[in-house]
Structures are given as structure tokens and as C-alpha cells.
Amino acid sequence: MEYQFHWNIVFQKMPQLLHGAFVTLHLSVFAMLIGIVIAVLLAIAKMSSSRIYSIPATIWVEIARNTPALFQIYMAYFGLGAFGIHLSPYVAVLSALIFVNAGYLTETFRGGFQSIPKTQYSASKSLGMNGIQIYRYIILPQMFRRIYHPMTNQFVWSILMSSLGILVGMNELSGETQRLQSLSFRTLEFFIVAAIMYFIITKFVLLCASLASKRLFKGDI
């Protein structure tokens, strides 16, 4: 039996698909940016000698890294719903992705922090800098260079994982594709195009990351 491709309907629905792709992109960008900020704090908390900080951070990281992203999205959408907290699909997926991103990035950042020689701290201290200044001007800029590439990998992962939004009826690229194919029955065509769009999005993000790194990181580490 030979399959007959019908691309016309896909092209007609291109505006919806592109809108879905746009939602995917900004969802992942927010999930990444907020995830990074939380991960920096979690990494510092996890390295703290005080258990009040290190234990909650460890719990976060362990749950995020050792449970499926699907579970986290379900927990954010249906789990919280059971307690009367009703998040929109967008916010539920966003929260879950932030949770996982922060968990994974914490370990990346912790490794990054530990790779900075202790002497950088004493040198900064000897110049009269306080703790916040040392982190802001000396430690974080060096740490981000070292973990930049693992971080972009996490970003790509986050874009692809956002496709789980399909499960809670979100209108990101996968959800939109699912809806359109169920109306038209051109399942294969729609998903092929969606896959190509994911590919283009991730390649685009990696290209931007690589261009940005050339601008941002001029010195050697």
C-alpha cells in the first residue's frame, strides 16, 4: 500500500504551526532563564555548610534529576489541581520545566563553582571586595564560561521536553500539531513538519549561543 502525502493542508495551517513554534520558543527561553537564576542559588545553597540550605537544595536536585519530566508536568497540572491550585497549561509546563532545568543546572553550576581556584576568592578578598562583589564580578563570569556549553545542551533539552505540553492540551508546537492533525487526519505530514521545525529551532538556538559566546567571552580561562 502506498501512502499519499498531502502537504497542502499543512501549508494552509502554517500560521498556526508557526505560532505554536513561537510558543515553544518563548516557553523554553523563560524556563531556561528562570531555571538558571534558581540553579545559581541552589548551587550556592548546596555547597553551603549549613544544612538549612543544603538539604532543601539537595532534595530539589534529587527529585528533578531522578523522576520523569512527564511526572513533573502532571504534578504541576493535575497534582496541584487536586489541592485547588489550577494552573493554566502554559504555567504548568513552564513551572515543571523550570523545576527540571534548575535541578540539572544546579549540578552543572556546582561543578563550575568548584572548578574556580580558591585563590581567586582570596585575591578578590584581599582587594577589599565583599562576598556579593566577588561572586558578581569574579566567580560567576568565570563559572559561566566554563559551563556555557553544558548549559546550551540543557536549553536544547528544554526545548524538546516542552513538547510534553501536548499532554495537558497546551498550544505549543506539539500541542498545535496534534490538534491540527486530528482535524485533518494528515498525521504524518504534520508531525514531519513539526519535527523539522523543532530541528530548526534547536539549530537556531545553538547558532545564537555560539555567536553570543564569541561576543561574551573574549578572555581565556
Partner: protein, 241 residues
């Protein structure tokens, strides 16, 4: 003036300093010599409050470094320090390295901070390296950068912790020349060093550390050229060959 009075310092069970008394007057150059593990470097870290002490006091211009209410970040602005490992900031250019602390710690405007940084870099002979990244320079150049970076804060005292020990032999000279220049400028300095000839030449006072105490102290002609104590003689015979 720096007054060090009966300072004791331990790392867990290990007693590193066992009652150090030392005065450093304005404009004086004091060299601290002694074997490794004798507590020389630890003393410098205690003077600028990076390491805590268990007993005694350290006064910098009458401010008690280790007292509870002391703002040590502020105090460190008066105490420049240069380390054995030069610790340049690898993500910043030479000029940015020297400008950073005046900018963010002293809240100087960019123009003024740049002027001071350039002045100090020129002073240590790095006038042609402003836009270079430190990791592309030799150890001697990076060490001179570390000195300029500390000087840009206009400290009243400079603490040098074996600043030539990690350098290739042919680079030691340029760094020692920089220190000589500082002495000629009238900078008050405490130099922990293994360079005996240098210590003899530049110091007003030499302190020989042995197992956490000052075994012998006095002018270099005495301590290095004509040591009285047996431990000092033994140490010097080893390092002077």
C-alpha cells in the same frame, strides 16, 4: 603602623603561630624568612583578616583586625596583598584587572579608575599590555599585574607572599626590581620570601620564623649575614649553599 601582639593561630589541632610579636612602622620593609610550614604565609593571611586568629591582637593603624565590629573589607583596602600564585582574573583584560577594585570597591568613576590603573600598570612596566588577557602573559608579567592591581587601591601597606617562588628563574629579576622600586617609593612592605640576597638588600628588618615563633629578628646584617641562633644558622646554610 602594624602591631602584631602575641598572635596564636591553629588549623584544627595544628598550631601554626605560637605567639608572634612584630611591629612594622610606616615606610619600613620587613622580610620574613624561614622554612616551609614555619607560619610565615599564615601570618600575612592573619594580618589582612582572611584567616582568623585564636589569641592575641593585630592592629593596623590602631584598628583591631580581628575585633568583632571591624569592617575587614574596608580595612583590606589599606592592605594590598600579592600571592605566590599571581591569581590574575583570567576573564578580564590587564587594564580591567587593575580597574575593577577601584571601580566597585572604592566606587570611583570609570575615567578616574582607568587613570589610576594605567598609572600603576605603567609603573610596573606593563604600559603596552592594557588590552592583553593575563593568561597570554608570562608569570613575571602576571605577577607584576598583581602588584599593579593591588597598588591601584592605593594601599598603605603591601603584603607579599613568596611572590617569586612560583616563577621561572629568569622571571624572578623583573618582579624583584618592581619590589625594589616600591621600596624606593617609600611603601611599607612585609615580604615573605626565600630570596635571601633580596631580603638582605632591601629590608630594614628581617624576622626568621621557626616552628611558629620568631626565632631571631633584627637588621639583615645581623640575621642573614651574622645569625646568632643555631636554628637560623642551620636554615641559612641550607638556603645560601
Amino acid at each position: 603602623m602594624i602591631k602584631i601582639q602575641d598572635v596564636h593561630k591553629s588549623f584544627a589541632d595544628l598550631k601554626v603561630l605560637k605567639g608572634i610579636d612584630l611591629d612594622v612602622k610606616k615606610g619600613e620593609v620587613v622580610s620574613v624568612i624561614g622554612g616551609s610550614g614555619s607560619g610565615k604565609s599564615t601570618l600575612l593571611y592573619c594580618i589582612n583578616g582572611i584567616e582568623k586568629i585564636q589569641q592575641g591582637r593585630i592592629l593596623v593603624d590602631e584598628i583591631d583586625v580581628h575585633a568583632k565590629g571591624t569592617n575587614r573589607d574596608k580595612l583590606r583596602q589599606r592592605l594590598g596583598m600579592v600571592f605566590q600564585q599571581w591569581n590574575s582574573f583570567p576573564h578580564l583584560t590587564v587594564l580591567e584587572n587593575a580597574m575593577l577594585a577601584p571601580r566597585i570597591v572604592k566606587k570611583m568613576n570609570k575615567k578616574r579608575a582607568m587613570e589610576i590603573a594605567k598609572e600603576e600598570l605603567n609603573h610596573v612596566g606593563l604600559g603596552d599590555k592594557f588590552d592583553e588577557y593575563p593568561t597570554r602573559m608570562s608569570g613575571g608579567q602576571q605577577q607584576r599585574l598583581a602588584i599593579a592591581r593591588a597598588l591601584a587601591m592605593k594601599p598603605d601597606y603591601m603584603l607579599f607572599d613568596e611572590v617569586t617562588s612560583a616563577l621561572d628563574p629568569e622571571l624572578v629579576g623583573e618582579v624583584l626590581d618592581t619590589l625594589r622600586m616600591l621600596r624606593d617609593d617609600g611603601m611599607t612592605m612585609i615580604c615573605v620570601t626565600h630570596e635571601m640576597a633580596f631580603a638582605r638588600e632591601v629590608s630594614d628588618k628581617v624576622a626568621f620564623f621557626h616552628e611558629g615563633i620568631i626565632e631571631e629578628m633584627g637588621p639583615p646584617e645581623q640575621v642573614i649575614s651574622n645569625p646568632q641562633k643555631e636554628t637560623t644558622q642551620k636554615f641559612l646554610s641550607k638556603v645560601l649553599h
